[in-house]
Amino acid sequence: MNLDAYRLDVEPYYRPCGHEVVLFEQAHSHRLPLILKGPTGCGKTRFVEHMAWRLRRPLITVACNEDMTASDLVGRYLLDADGTCWHDGPLTLAVRYGGICYLDEIVEARQDTTVVIHPLTDSRRILPLDKKGEIVRAHPDFQLVVSYNPGYQSRSKDLKQSTRQRFAALEFDYPEREAETEIIAHEADVGRELADKLVGIARKSRALKDRGLDEGISTRMLTYAAMLIRDGMPPLDSCAMTMTNPVTDDPDMVLALRAIVESYFTV
């Protein structure tokens, strides 16, 4: 068994916004577990993909949710014709064969699920499979990376200190204007002028966070809008569909955001 299926052959495009590439490389060289913090859609997932490619490691991603149990991460016995057989979960695969395991939105998982990573993320670097009676020692290439969005945390959904303190953390935010423009231009293959307008709109919406919006418009939404406009859709409709309509249900806010969108385009 190897993890070739999880290797990335094509470089995922990533535009660095600070020293994060070097910092990640450093963390990786010591196999330090890493937390990536930042608002939704600001490039955390893309960054991990890029780093996995750069470091030539397989990348196993798990999107965490409330219903997830420890077995969903670690593995479970299944039935087959002859009896029972053990199936490694995604975390165990990465631990056993050496890869980067990326737990997306870790706070969504319940705390009794998150504790399975504790013995992996201290000097022991082991993963006990209780059901199977096996202790897996982590492959030298294994690294754990998790992400979470601190703006959206809840008391019931918060990382425990005993979990937090096992990690090093990198903070992400929406890129600076120049950088974000470059990203949109590249991702959606559009001109810088259009990309810059879309970034301008997003930045105005981010000023409304906590003043009526839970989150501002993300980089991800901008790439969607840019793609539609590139395909010839009218800009106002494209922005309504991919930005202003999804980001809020408040009709007054929708109206205001549309007026902001319209202020950026001459028709």
């Binding site: 016995y77 309504a240 955001l257």
Partner: protein
């Protein structure tokens, strides 16, 4: 500038437009600004224009006779113009020796300069401004107002042609400096030159009759500070608020049963306070004076009526549907669990019989303590509310109370004000689980705002009261209109830091704390006190009820 679909959705009145205009202005100006209807008649004969005061835009209900879409677009233009000033214009410069006409011309140039700067980022706004800059049908003349409105148009519209020498001179001077728009002084110099020319042309100017020609633009009082003696009364106008109409009572209270006996209980409690400068906790530093009315011999039969009359909107309490795994019984088989049963059987182990999946309301019960900031400032009459901030806060709290009535949640309504650390008055109007009756409603209704806001002590007391509650979720939700302050404290940060410590202590005990604030300037401190995601700044007061319900729903689900 408005797309087809939006034309149909434009708010039909100014009041209904205000929420979206507030968001629009906040977004464009990247700052918290309130938008309110301006009910004040102009002091002069001139028509009313929008007014910018400290963090408030007062919008007159202009655009009578326009369609909904046109009127909304006019108000958007006003908000955009105001954003231009807030972003780019120096505020409240001293008038000095400037004559009224000089002031008017320099202001017009500043209007144009700041709009050009805004248009650089928002090119779509040029059309919006132009749409509301049409010249009057009466045709050009050589009056001051006509010349200035033509100049305004010439500065905004490249296509516009005028045959007046002065208008064209103004346009050329302005154009020549377009690449140095950031340089306020050089544009002010243009204004002075143009005003001087008008003086030589003997154009007459009557400040009593002049209003900025473009109806969407503000009266420019934002730009200047007038001395006491100045006959420009514009700046004073806005303080002549109409007398607050006495608000209708919240409810027609029914009489309590004859047998009702009440007793006022006053109890004192000592609480510590955190001194951020000394990095020290001062033990027993604040005295919270708790006021409570105890009912003796009152039946609870009245509670249902009282509360159902509070239900101004249908209950917003959401039942959180979640699938519960590993149940003894249920509608579905939990596949994971079932597989494990079979596996365990084969392995000869005793299987866990809880293999069902059941949709269920999470049996999560919440105690929410709504804490009203009753400091003096909440007595301020606000035209946009049609009452005081406190009246609005009370109404919002009672609505939440009504919405919780049909659920298992226990809601409390408390309030506080402080007068030095020795006297933090704390009112337990309604305790969690207590039946609401008319006497309680009347006490809430008549409670007066006074003195200051010692937030930390009040939060500590609320936390202490919540500690006794046994529900899954316990939370304090503060409804506030300003930063913490008290007369015996001189460092602005002191009470902010103390309140932040009080919140952190509450969270550590598993008691949630959140805040809804009506202070548009709250961004500078409220995050420090409550932390990420635990607050909401309500720029538009009329949305307080909605925002509070939203926060309430989040808090009561433990998902803050």
């Amino acid at each position: 500038m408005l797309a087809e679909a939006d034309l149909r959705r434009c708010p039909p009145t100014l009041d209904l437009a205000i929420p979206s205009l507030t968001y629009f202005l906040d977004g464009i100006a990247e700052a918290g600004v309130q938008v309110q209807r301006c009910n004040v008649a102009s002091a002069s004969d001139a028509p009313q224009r929008p007014i910018i005061t400290e963090q408030v835009l007062l919008l007159p209900d202009q655009g009578v006779g326009l369609s909904d879409a046109q009127r909304y677009s006019l108000h958007l233009a006003s908000a955009a113009h105001v954003a231009a000033h807030l972003l780019f214009s120096p505020a409240r410069l001293p008038v000095g020796k400037l004559k009224p006409m000089g002031l008017a011309v320099i202001s017009a140039i500043e209007d144009a300069r700041s709009e050009q700067l805004l248009i650089r980022e928002h090119p779509g706004l040029r059309q919006l401004f132009l749409r509301h800059s049409a010249l009057p049908l009466s045709g050009p003349d050589l009056s001051f107002a006509s010349l200035v409105s033509r100049l305004n148009l010439a500065l905004l519209d490249d296509e516009y042609r005028d045959d007046n020498y002065w208008v064209n001179k103004g346009r050329d001077l302005f154009r020549a400096r377009l690449d140095a728009l950031d340089d306020y002084d050089s544009f002010r110099a243009i204004g002075s030159i143009l005003a001087n020319d008008l003086g030589q042309m003997r154009v007459r100017f009557n400040p009593q009759q002049y209003a900025v020609p473009q109806v969407y633009r503000d009266d420019n009082s934002y730009l200047w500070t007038f001395d006491q003696v100045s006959d420009q009364s514009v700046a004073e106008v806005r303080f002549q608020n109409p007398q607050p109409p006495s608000p209708p009572p919240l409810n027609e209270p029914d009489a309590l049963p004859e047998t009702a006996v009440t007793e006022e209980l006053v109890v004192r409690y000592d609480y510590p306070e955190w001194d951020a400068r000394l990095q020290m906790r001062r033990p027993d530093w604040c005295i919270v004076v708790e006021h409570r009315t105890v009912f003796v011999g009152v039946e609870n039969q009245k509670q249902k009526n009282a509360v159902s009359r509070l239900m101004m909107s249908p209950s917003q309490h959401l039942d959180r549907k979640r699938r519960m795994r590993r149940q003894w019984e249920g509608e579905d088989i939990d596949l994971n669990a079932a597989t494990e049963v079979l596996v365990d059987r084969r392995l000869g182990l005793a299987p866990d019989p809880r293999i069902f999946l059941r949709p269920g309301k999470a049996a999560r019960r919440a105690t929410i303590l709504l804490l009203l900031d009753m400091s003096q400032s909440s007595n301020d009459y606000r035209a946009d509310i049609g009452g005081t901030v406190l009246q609005l806060a009370k109404r919002a709290a009672l609505m939440s109370l009504g919405a919780a009535a049909g659920t298992e949640d226990r809601v409390a309504v408390h309030g506080f004000f402080s007068n030095t650390r020795e006297a933090v008055h704390y009112f337990r109007f309604l305790d969690p689980g207590q039946a609401c009756n008319d006497l309680i409603l009347r006490r809430i209704e008549t409670a007066e705002a006074k003195y200051s806001t010692r937030m930390g002590a009040a939060i500590r007391h609320a936390t202490a009261l919540l500690r006794k509650e046994e529900t899954d979720v316990r939370a304090v939700v503060l409804i506030s209109d300003g930063a913490p302050s008290d007369i015996d404290v001189f460092h602005a940060d002191y009470l902010i830091e103390d309140a932040a410590v009080a919140v952190r202590e509450a969270l550590r005990e598993g008691i949630d704390a959140a805040c809804v604030t009506l202070d548009p300037q709250a961004a500078s401190y409220v995050r420090r006190i409550f932390g990420n995601g635990r607050f909401s700044i309500v720029d538009n007061a009329m949305r307080l009820g909605t925002v509070l319900r939203h926060i309430y729903a989040r808090v009561s689900h433990g998902s803050i």
